[in-house]
Symmetry: C2
Subunit: 265 residues, 2 copies
């Protein structure tokens, strides 16, 4: 849900469609039918216009095996540089949808990263790219690495939220016009994801949501999405180890990410 899309503005949107329908008959009615709301998802406004730079940031879920080759990393819109995950699939949907719009899409996710590691490389891997739209998916390692005593990582949800706020504040100071998408961290209940993740993981999700709300970012509710998806296929189908999406999981994420940034239900 987008923090800009309160219940009131959602109602206004329906009102807009209803008004159009009354004025315009069958064509309007078809349009109104096509925006039937999913019960768990409220799209934001359209966030992308022509000739813009879109940047995906995050951890291994965003990285998804992208090339580190300098040429591939520097050039926008290429598959090796974009990996094989949701970021590439979302990029492909946008690019194939709008091949003439001059979009330049980059991926700078790095496997294993937590918020403080994004901060360490933020100048080179975000601010220098001057994204018009910045999408961040971070958090699963912030909890996962704290649960593994071998890694000796002392993170907490408070540190995650504090660092995440600071990262966004820094971004807004440097790039005040950049639109922000905060993706909800998610897990599937299988593989590496055991009971010991809960309820702590829910607190990380809530913290990401607070970051989105505070900074008027579009929030993409991936956990809510996967909670519905497991009604139709087991958790392992969407993410074998509970953390890293399968091709089907990544495709579903791409679909809802594009819906969220396109302002469509």
């Amino acid at each position: 849900m987008n923090s800009d899309t309160s219940a009131t503005s959602a109602l206004s949107r329906r009102g807009f469609l209803k008004t159009s329908t009354l004025a315009l008959g069958a064509a309007g009615l078809a349009a109104a039918n096509s925006v039937e709301a999913a019960p768990w998802f409220s799209p934001g406004r359209n966030l992308i216009t022509k000739d813009e730079v879109i940047l995906f940031q995050g951890d291994s879920i965003t990285d998804a095996g992208r090339s580190r080759d300098k040429e591939k990393t520097t050039a926008p819109n290429n598959q090796p540089g974009s990996g094989n995950g949701y970021a590439w699939l979302a990029a492909a949907e946008l690019l194939v949808d709008r091949p003439d719009d001059g979009l330049r899409i980059f991926n700078r996710g790095i496997s294993g990263h937590k918020v403080f590691q994004l901060a360490e490389r933020w100048q080179a891997d975000c601010l220098n790219l001057k994204p018009d739209l910045l999408s961040i998916l971070i958090g699963v390692n912030d909890i996962w690495h704290s649960l593994d005593p071998r890694l000796n990582y002392k993170g907490t949800v408070e540190i995650y939220e504090r660092d995440y706020h600071a990262l966004v504040e820094r971004t807004k100071r440097a790039l005040p016009k950049t639109r922000l998408v905060v993706c909800e961290p998610f897990v599937l209940r299988c593989g590496a994801v055991t009971d010991k993740w809960f309820p702590e993981f829910d607190h990380y999700r809530a913290a990401a949501r607070r970051v989105a709300d505070k900074h008027h970012a579009t929030f993409v509710p991936f956990q809510a999405m996967f909670d519905v998806a497991v009604q139709f296929a087991p958790p392992e189908h969407w993410a074998g180890d509970g953390v890293h999406p399968s091709p089907s999981g990544a495709a579903l994420m791409a679909h809802f990410w594009v819906k969220a940034v396109s302002g469509k239900q």
Copy 2:
């Protein structure tokens, strides 16, 4: 492109949005921005309402390894029975989008099939299921098997079109209210797809388009989609052998299939 969506009605749709925008200010403007048209894709009207049966029919591209287990085949909305291709990914997008809408989605694609083989099993695998929405993707084997002398298949584009028309006529007689989606057969220029496929393959695509137009079906332009997609990743990325989509190819197909049947740009 939908045969119902002529250039005129596409203009009317833009007119509808423009009118709303003038009347409703910023909210309308955001909505108008979000329906910027892809140059190769015109969505149809919204084809799916609550409590409907959706059936995917076709060959291996639709089949995509679906279970033949009777329980899995009989139950709607399950992954093993739906395979791992575009049909499952499209089903998952719809189901997760609309979990409370009572949609029942089936896949009856069978690997290797041509139009006449759909006809042989149409009563059991289509008519008995009484789909409200029927989506067909067929044609690649109709040409492919005719190109392989070992298979001794004497099909032609005329036979393909005649049989395809007859299949749709039969469906309309039995199920006059069923909405039809005709998917464009497609190939990528790699793997098994050599120069000898052309220009013959283009004639099969044109025949599928005529079937769609004659029967007022929604046409999903998959070849047009992949022709744009190869600007951003090589043909092998989308379909290693030129015929069977990769997970990325299937995800892209699912995205545009859902757009086509949802009446959205």
